[in-house]
Symmetry: C2
Subunit: 234 residues, 2 copies
């Protein structure tokens, strides 16, 4: 077919060998095109033929760089995740107060989750394609790591002797809450209003936790019994 972008892969790569330059650009082109198509039509509805056509290569090239469709997806997934994590981390920089940190982090997460690639690739298709095991592994060292960081800072403020398991549990809960809320924000008729609602709701929950902190209410421990729901009325 018409190769209008024929040879020169990366305009100026002086030191690297030509072969390596070719290789890198081809791989990147594949990931680029794959990300776009996966985002637009989803994993299942995107054929490898469409991807290699978009990248102006053949299946041979694809299978030279990736072991298969799923591996390609994982590369795309990883990039989208890291991009998201980087943005969130950046927004957190400079924030000292843990509660402010939580608020800011929530805001930037809601921003991230409104973008099509993250929603489709990470949230929607991710679990089904990668399986929950690999999905969790990936998240654990990017976006989720940020949440853990925030939760740790926030709960540390309470000066409990919180154990790691419990912290992870809290992080999971908040992460799930924000993912779900983020999806509802992204699909809402008025995303901006929906985002404000979510911020309000989670802010309210945080305020509740903070209130308990000030009252000196004990944190439930891992060995906690069912009376852990601290202030159960009557």
């Amino acid at each position: 077919m018409s190769k209008l972008v024929p040879k020169v892969p990366v305009p100026g790569v002086p030191g690297a060998s030509r072969r390596a330059a070719y290789s890198a650009s081809t791989k990147r082109a594949l990931v680029d095109v794959a990300e776009q198509l996966f985002t637009e039509k989803g994993y299942a509805a995107t054929s490898l033929d469409a991807i290699v056509a978009g990248a102006r290569v053949t299946k041979g090239a694809l299978y030279h760089h990736f072991s298969g469709k799923q591996a390609l997806f994982e590369s795309v997934f990883e990039r989208v995740e890291q991009e998201a994590a980087k943005r969130i981390q950046k927004s957190l920089r400079g924030q000292k107060d843990p509660w402010r940190k939580a608020t800011v982090g929530l805001r930037s997460f809601l921003d991230v989750v409104q973008e099509a690639p993250y929603r489709r690739i990470v949230i929607q298709d991710g679990p089904a394609v990668l399986g929950y095991e690999r999905y969790r592994e990936q998240e654990e060292r990017s976006t989720f790591a940020n949440i853990v960081e925030i939760v740790r800072a926030t709960l540390d403020a309470g000066s409990w002797d919180l154990d790691e398991d419990m912290l992870q549990t809290f992080a999971r809960i908040f992460f799930g809450a924000m993912s779900s809320a983020g999806e509802s924000v992204a699909t809402a008729a008025d995303p901006e209003a929906a985002a404000r609602r979510v911020e309000g709701a989670i802010g309210f929950l945080l305020a509740g936790v903070q209130s308990l902190v000030e009252q000196g209410v004990a944190m439930p421990s891992a060995r906690g019994r069912d009376d852990a729901a601290a202030a159960d009325p009557e």
Copy 2:
């Protein structure tokens, strides 16, 4: 595997016509087998050939009852969802105190989410196969409806003039939190301990909300501003 029950579809169906009886049993057999295979190997890795073989029919029969693989999945999905919703609803029966209701509901949800069919079909494959639109539509009238109900009862106790949008937001947040937490419970080395941690953590959040209620702190409204994060320090 071996379905030695070849012809007689439903032993005693007096009134119904024989054809209708055959039809009903065939359809049910397909859904049964599909649920099992979808649960075991996932949607993508389950072929229609395997399903029809398990149900001892042919693809002609399948396509007579369902418009395609996705429609069959949706039938399975619906059944699993309704089963889950029914169980949760049952556990709620008799509970008067809204906070107790929340605790009990959480417990039964954690039970449900630990079962393979719900996890694999509803949580893991559901969003990817049905798309978020249909996924939400389905959940809205089953399991999620229960959560809304609980949240409504709980927040009503605060005697706010909470608007519907905000209530939905809270419900979404809790639902997401519980789904995510549930998954972590199900995949934990010690599910029972993990479940207790989740109960403790969410119970703590609920206690926080309750604390704010007692203090008479205002609920954020839909038109709330960014100061909605009520008691932000300093």
